[in-house]
């Protein structure tokens, strides 16, 4: 089985090529099913790989498969080689499993769109690139996937490019990601320069070569993480990315691509472990992002944007997890998050579908009656997100908080505060649209439940959101055991668990979550004036939160505007005068030279012979002198 692991990459490409070549002749539905089946076949391969690895001895669960030699120049050896181990297979299962459900959902969601073929081709391309990223055994191939998912993200955010705002959002995502990718490229070069190695296993086995520069390399990688995974300071693209079709938000901007950063840290943990400074930075960025993004989610009124900020916040948790050395806890939260966040987005998409694209929760209300299935699945997703006891998010978030406590108490405290806010805003997102009285009669009267092709994926994801957490019960974590061989050499923060204390912490966070949910209920069902009063009492902080801490504006003023000015100077002075002057000057010189050449190129044989003769004389002279 392991030797057929490459099949997982082949199926999405096949689906993509089929749809590309014959898509015009097929119905939209067929296109959708072809794309979905391709992902499903990949999922089957992933399942096969999973069971093959389970059947192997624990130490042996690691297999490298050479597909072909790619670039060999001297010592630089980048191959197309894939690495099958518990970590990559876990990611593969998430990407293909959740990806498959989202593909199926999209068949219903995209019905009637005029570019269904293009949509599914991009989606399959994304799956292919994401799997390349996940299964790459070396930095260069991973970089291919890293850029590839960035490209598909750009293409899909701007999928409805007639809307200027969508096109803008696509550009913003791409440009902000470039900053992070730059860090990645530098890190790769640095690693190669110091160690001459590129494959993860080689690097992990020979860390002494890069030890002197570990902090620098790790921080550059962290920059890449903040770009792709939307962490401070590069998170600003993700909320805007919601302009893409909702299945895209679910697949790329919630479940899979944005978690690539967490995967990167886990995959290269050997480098991060060399530098405690860098690890602290990772954890700090994670927890601070989790906190700030949660505050921003509190004030949003657009359903998808609430979810977007919540995604940033949840990835913050994951980054916190890997930052404190709890790698398998971070990946565990990645998995549960993939389920419940994909679910929430798809359910939000179902609402949007029913309300003709309306996303402002202040215009909704009472939708439970009209779309019960969407309501119940959304509720399950929100409970998991909030960390309601026994839902999947509860276990995974708690494990991270527990490790954070062992690392630094303030991180735990901030994480707990974030958990409170998370519970509050996630139930706000349930209560305001689904319960209470309809606020907009017209919208309400036209609302309808989504077709089965959309609701069935919702229920399947809801199952995952409900039950996924039991894979990682404290002390009996199947998930942790499964990933253990990958992180065997990293014994930071793991272990040393005193059972009772951990249970007490669980109790505390359960209470905090329940308090958050209770407050949301009070504020939006019982005393609906409470939110406004509370805001007034906050004074200027409210303004800050309302305006998302003015970060976009700050970036505008500090980075974009100076660049703009600089660009203006380039455009008005430097480019026309200096560059164009040089170019035109060169062109003029070229023209002159060309004129000279043309005079020689008369078509007259005599001239040609003359040229040959001159050349021969010069060569003769040279060789007779030097020989």
């Amino acid at each position: 089985m392991l030797n057929y692991a490459w099949l997982i990459l082949v199926f999405p490409v096949l689906g993509l090529l089929l749809n590309l070549a014959f898509g015009r002749r097929l119905s939209d539905r067929t296109i959708g099913w072809i794309a979905s089946s391709a992902v499903f076949l990949s999922f089957l391969v992933a399942v096969g790989l999973f069971f093959t690895l389970l059947g192997m001895p624990v130490e042996g669960r690691q297999h490298e498969l050479m597909l072909w030699q790619w670039i060999h120049v001297d010592l630089f050896r980048a191959d197309v080689k894939i690495l099958v181990d518990p970590l990559s297979v876990t990611m593969g299962l998430i990407v293909t499993g959740v990806g498959f459900l989202i593909h199926v959902y999209s068949i219903g969601y995209m019905e009637g769109d005029k570019r269904v073929q293009r949509f599914f081709v991009f989606m399959n391309f994304f799956i292919f690139m994401m799997l390349t990223l996940v299964f790459a055994n070396n930095f260069v191939l991973l970089y291919v996937g890293w850029e590839g998912v960035g490209l598909s993200s750009y293409l899909l955010i701007g999928f409805w490019f007639e809307k200027p705002i969508a096109a803008e959002a696509g550009k913003k995502a791409f440009l902000v990601n470039r900053v992070g990718d730059f860090g990645m490229a530098l890190a790769i070069m640095w690693i190669f320069k110091l160690s001459g190695r590129l494959s993860f296993l080689d690097i992990a086995a020979n860390t002494q070569a890069i030890a002197p520069a570990a902090t620098g390399i790790a921080l550059l990688l962290l920059l890449a993480v903040t770009g792709k995974s939307a962490q401070i300071p590069l998170y600003i693209w993700l909320p805007d990315a919601m302009e893409g079709p909702t299945p895209v938000s679910a697949l790329i901007h919630a479940a899979t691509m944005v978690t690539a950063g967490v995967y990167l840290v886990a995959r290269t943990f050997a480098i991060f472990l060399l530098s405690p400074v860098a690890m602290t930075w990772v954890a700090t960025i994670g927890v601070v992002t989790a906190f700030f993004a949660a505050t921003m989610a509190l004030a949003q009124v657009d359903l998808k944007r609430i979810l977007a900020y919540s995604t940033i916040s949840q990835i913050g948790y994951m980054v916190l997890g890997v930052g404190v050395g709890a790698f398998s806890a971070g990946i565990f939260h990645l998995m549960t998050h993939a389920f419940f966040k994909a679910l929430l987005f798809l359910a939000a998409g179902s609402v949007m579908h029913a309300l003709h694209g309306e996303l402002d929760i202040r215009k909704m209300g009472g939708l439970r009656e009209k779309m019960p299935q969407t309501f119940w699945t959304f509720l399950i997703g929100a409970a998991a997100l909030a960390g309601f006891p026994l839902f999947s998010g509860f276990f995974s978030k708690d494990e991270i908080l527990w490790h954070a406590w062992q690392h630094a108490h303030w991180m735990w405290a901030l994480g707990l505060l974030t958990a409170f806010m998370t519970a509050y805003y996630s139930f706000r997102a349930v209560i305001v649209p689904f319960l209470g009285k309809p606020r907009d009669k017209y919208l309400f009267s036209h609302a309808h439940e989504a077709p089965p092709v959309m609701t069935i994926p919702l229920w399947l994801l809801a199952m995952g959101a409900l039950l996924g957490g039991f894979l990682g019960l404290p002390h009996a974590s199947l998930f942790g055991k499964w990933l253990e061989p990958v992180f065997a050499s990293a014994h930071v923060g793991e272990g040393a668990a005193s059972g009772n204390l951990e249970l007490i912490f669980m109790g505390i966070s359960s209470l905090v979550v329940l308090a958050g949910i209770g407050l949301a209920y009070y504020a939006y069902m019982v005393d609906t004036e409470f939110p406004n009063r509370f805001r007034k009492s906050l004074g200027f902080i409210d303004g800050l939160v309302q305006h998302k801490w003015y970060v976009d504006e700050l970036y505008m003023a500090v980075i974009v505007h100076p660049l703009w000015e600089l660009a203006g100077w380039f455009a008005k002075f430097f480019d026309p005068k200096v560059i164009d002057g040089t170019v035109n000057g060169l062109a003029w010189v070229t023209d002159e030279v060309g004129g000279g050449v043309r005079k020689l190129q008369t078509g007259l044989v005599g001239w040609y012979v003359f040229s040959l003769f001159v050349g021969a004389v010069l060569l003769l002279g040279y060789f007779m002198l030097v020989w």
Binding site: W68, W70, V614, A616, L619, W627
Partner: protein
């Protein structure tokens, strides 16, 4: 009187012999058979069988025909490149031959004869055999160039090519004579052991030989014939000679300098570097404003000769294998580019004007996309074949402490991007002039197939360069 035949095994020459026999068969069949299409397929089959012979020779020990010819890994690599070129060229010419020509048999046979000459160039280890091969190759090409008899330009090109080629051959022969005079040997190893440095005669011999090679591979300032000939010749012939003759010329060129002159790199290295700079710069500058696609490709092929020469001028093993890789990569992309030109040219005109490329992407999206890939590869955009060709030869220059040469090469590549991208821009971003009639492009299946093959390899060689590079390294190993 008894004549004793020397006991000579012709086995190392087997691939060439197979092609020779095929060519004779083609001429024979031509006189008795009515349906001329089979001639091309017969010749195609011949290249395949010859290819099998090459493969078979590669399995066994290295065979050699006295000190004249060899079938070492190097020769076999060149055989492979040349056979691929010949096979694709036959397919490229197929429809033109059937539609517009009456002497299909002669064309096909001449093309095979030229191929034999090219393969012999790669196999020759003696100045005499190099010269004979050069003449077999050149004479066939002179005639092929004039094959579009309905066009005056074709005849003019043939005559020019012949006159200048004869001139260059004389230089080559004179150089060979001087080398013999100063070393007492004609085989490359013998020359290498006895030539030494010092002595005007040896230096003059090397210089004159260099003139001969430079003419054949079109290095500036010995390239003047190229644009006229490529433009005048039937496009399928231009395609064939732009890659085949270049590969063969470089094959003998590289072997001569690496074997016979290995000890005097210090003397010839700088001269070749200077030639490389002059050639690529001249080729690229002249290509910038061409209005004929075939002429543009002609200047582009001059520039590429310059890039390839960088590998030779570097004088190290990466340079040699890089040059071989370059020849292979260049073969696919240039055949492809000329193939598209064949498809686009108006019947009877024998050329494609740049202005007529406008709007191609709308009328023939796949054709435009194919051409774009060839242009990107020629410009050296990763991950296509052309990129790795440049990467290897420029890398060799850096390794040989000639970073400046690599820099000049890269600057030249940037310059060349202008005219390659201009083709793409015209196809994709300019609409055809109002009132201009739609270009009627026939897409005969054989031609389409040839293009698909070329496209496939441009992509595959780019995605999977190390396989081909290993073959090239294996071939370059003979230089020790």
């Amino acid at each position: 009187m008894t004549i004793t035949m020397p006991s000579v095994s012709l086995m190392p020459y087997l691939p060439e012999i197979i092609l020779l026999v095929t060519a004779l068969l083609v001429l024979l069949v031509d006189t008795v058979w009515g349906d001329k299409r089979w001639l091309v397929w017969l010749a195609f089959l011949g290249t395949l069988v010859s290819g099998v012979a090459v493969w078979w020779l590669a399995q066994g020990p290295t065979l050699q025909l006295q000190d004249m010819l060899t079938a070492d890994a190097y020769a076999l690599f060149i055989d492979m490149v040349v056979l691929i070129v010949a096979a694709i060229s036959l397919l490229l010419a197929y429809d033109w031959l059937i539609e517009h020509n009456e002497q299909q048999g002669e064309y096909v046979a001449l093309l095979l004869f030229a191929t034999v000459g090219m393969m012999t160039m790669g196999a020759a280890i003696n100045v005499v055999t190099i010269f004979v091969a050069l003449e077999i190759l050149s004479l066939s090409l002179y005639i092929l160039t004039g094959f579009a008899r309905e066009r005056l330009t074709s005849g003019e090109a043939a005559l020019k090519y012949f006159l200048l080629g004869a001139f260059a051959s004389a230089f080559f022969l004179y150089g060979a004579a001087l080398l013999y005079g100063s070393s007492g040997h004609l085989d490359l190893i013998g020359i290498g052991q006895n030539l030494g440095t010092g002595g005007l005669m040896a230096g003059a011999g090397v210089a004159l030989l260099l003139v001969g090679f430079s003419f054949k591979v079109a290095l500036a300032p010995f390239h003047m014939w190229t644009p006229d000939v490529y433009q005048g010749a039937p496009t399928s012939v231009s395609a064939f000679m732009s890659v085949g003759a270049k590969a063969a010329g470089f094959a003998a060129f590289l072997r001569f300098f690496q074997v016979a002159l290995a000890g005097s790199y210090a003397q010839w290295g700088p001269a070749l570097a200077a030639l490389a700079v002059l050639t690529m710069t001249w080729g690229n500058l002249a290509a910038l404003r061409q209005e004929s696609l075939k002429r543009l490709l002609a200047y582009s092929s001059i520039a590429h000769a310059g890039y390839a020469l960088v590998g030779l001028a570097a004088g190290n093993s990466l340079g040699s294998s890089g040059l071989l890789f370059y020849l292979l990569a260049y073969a696919f992309m240039n055949l492809g580019a000329f193939g598209v030109a064949i498809m686009l040219e108006k019947p009877g005109s024998g050329d494609v004007m740049m202005s007529s490329l406008r709007g191609t992407s709308r009328q023939h999206p796949l054709l435009a996309a194919t051409m774009a890939v060839f242009m990107f590869s020629l410009a050296g955009v990763p991950p296509l074949a052309g990129f790795f060709g440049k990467l290897y030869v420029f890398g060799a220059a850096v390794e040989a402490n000639m970073a400046w040469l690599a820099i000049v090469g890269v600057i030249n590549s940037a310059l060349s991007a202008y005219y390659y991208l201009r083709v793409t821009v015209l196809m994709y971003m300019r609409d055809e002039e109002a009132g201009e009639e739609e270009v009627a492009v026939s897409k005969p299946p054989v031609l389409v197939f040839a293009l698909v093959v070329a496209l496939f390899f441009v992509v595959i060689v780019g995605l999977w360069p190390s396989v081909w590079m290993q073959m090239a390294q294996q071939a370059a190993l003979i230089f020790g």
